[in-house]
Symmetry: C2
Subunit: 312 residues, 2 copies
């Protein structure tokens, strides 16, 4: 099954306790495409870039089955640029520079050749742009998932709530879930957010893993305990790419399969943070992914049936 991914393709300048890079490829759609393309191809990419976006990066993605018909190129424009510095805990960061550049004029057009996509991922973007994409879809997809951020809750809550009413699954981190719902308890937050539209909700908790909510069901997936988190940039988009890539590949959106997809997304994210930017994702092999998923299975596996009988 093919996937439609809408998001940014950008340059990042990153600083973590482990080092810094002044200019590296980034963007939500870039990370998501690298992750998803391990599981299914083609990936039908929708984004906007400037003439400065490296040809070799485009070629590398095309070699992974990423289609660019939906990626607008502004030859004399500059690609979106973000610069951030991470704190020691790696869960918090400061945005130093946000140059929208060509992103300011992003008005996505969904090509006819993209209309057959059953799986759609809306990366973190202005809610109004996310709405424009959904409105251009002629056939109802099997699954539309979206990411967002606290910034849009601050300045565009009405549009954000409109998008929430149009998607099947929302993916946010714990602080965003708390802000969106006004509830500290993630269980209460999930109920309020599900009432806003998305049947499914994934709350990402960084080093503490992720929670998947559907109706009254909850699944808790751990994060892989790592010796070092080198650079968290793109981990969330990589999680999303692995998640939707696995669902599209298996073409199964039952809750049970979504649980597996959350673990796959977590496994992909655990690779992403091992090197700066998308470097680790670009060198990843299928064998490495299989071994990492095995690590997650042993990390989570417990045999406890007997426990039900042992209380006095």
């Amino acid at each position: 099954m093919s996937i439609l991914i809408v998001g940014t393709m950008a340059f990042d300048a990153l600083e973590t306790p482990f080092g810094k890079v002044d200019r590296i490829i980034g963007g939500s759609a870039t990370y998501a495409a690298w992750a998803a393309s391990n599981f299914t191809q083609p990936i039908k990419q929708v984004s906007i870039i400037g003439g400065d976006f490296p040809k070799e990066e485009i070629a590398a993605l095309e070699a992974r089955g990423v289609e660019f018909e939906g990626v607008e190129v502004i030859p004399d424009g500059k690609s979106f640029f973000w610069s951030g510095r991470y704190h020691l805990d790696m869960n918090t960061r400061d945005s130093l520079i946000t140059d929208l550049n060509v992103l300011a004029q992003f008005d996505p057009k969904i090509p006819e050749s993209y209309q057959d996509c059953d799986y759609v991922m809306l990366g973190n973007l202005v809610p109004a742009v996310q709405i424009k994409v959904i409105q251009q879809l002629k056939n109802k997809p099997k699954l539309v998932i979206m990411d967002t951020m606290n910034f849009w809750m601050d300045i565009a809550m009405d549009e954000l709530k409109q998008v929430l009413g149009m998607v099947d699954l929302l993916m946010v981190n714990d602080s965003e879930a708390r802000q969106l719902s006004g509830e500290f308890s993630l269980v209460k937050a999930a109920k309020k957010i599900q009432a806003m539209g998305p049947k499914y909700l994934i709350i990402k908790k960084g080093e503490h893993g992720a929670l998947l909510f559907y109706g009254d069901k909850i699944f808790s997936a751990p994060a892989l305990p790592l010796e070092d988190v080198f650079d968290p940039t793109g981990a969330g988009d990589t999680f999303a790419g692995g998640f939707i890539g696995y669902l599209a590949r298996t073409d199964d959106i039952t809750f049970d399969n979504m649980k597996a997809a959350v673990v796959i997304g977590s496994a992909m994210a655990s690779f992403c943070v091992e090197k700066f930017g998308p470097l680790r994702m670009q060198e990843l092999t299928s064998a490495e992914i299989g071994a990492r998923v095995e690590e997650f299975i042993s990390l989570m596996h417990v045999n406890i049936e007997t426990a039900l009988a042992v209380t006095i």
Copy 2:
């Protein structure tokens, strides 16, 4: 199999965002005994209390198979008293009052009738007192587990390291693991702490669950996502009691069974936080425990074998 539990039996005054109690039964050994006695009896208790410790609380524990021969009573003394206030996140708290009272003269004597215990839990106490207990054990137990806190790392690190060399398993929270090891990464922290003595390490992460380390193996258990955490007091001791109670009941200290014990401990802790003090533990039924463990199993269960074959 019988269990030996050493720890405090006390009065607490608690304040949480949900309310306050001025005087309620508490203490590490109290919570651990209530939890462990669901799985195995007798519980051979070692503590010190004043004449003010309620007879009915002692009777209630005795009815649960908790033996008091090792509990010293100072008729005209006052029991240990602790008062604390929790912050909104419930993961942090301020100690308001700590009156050691009779605890200041705690010099545990292990009765001859306690010498058959294969499972020993050392609650959070002055490391020197924990050492005294171990030194009085004539037969090597199958498993000795201990709890401690940052306070002892600040003022008695040498004695603490001595105890660590004498136990099989250490149980601490994530900030304590980081302070004890000087490592931010919990994986690195675990390696350093295991090198200090304990073969097994459990790092408790509150609402984020717990990690069990043994050699290079790691198991991650979730916490049950709760609508409200009413009062976290005693959750760690309840976890420990459920953990060692299950191990003693099954008399199996393989890593696989310890994983199950971590889930059992987590299930018991999830009850503890539902009401003030040990109230919820005192009314708990075997059927409720079984149902809660089932909740944990569904929270963690994922079928993902197929994932290994789907990457392109």
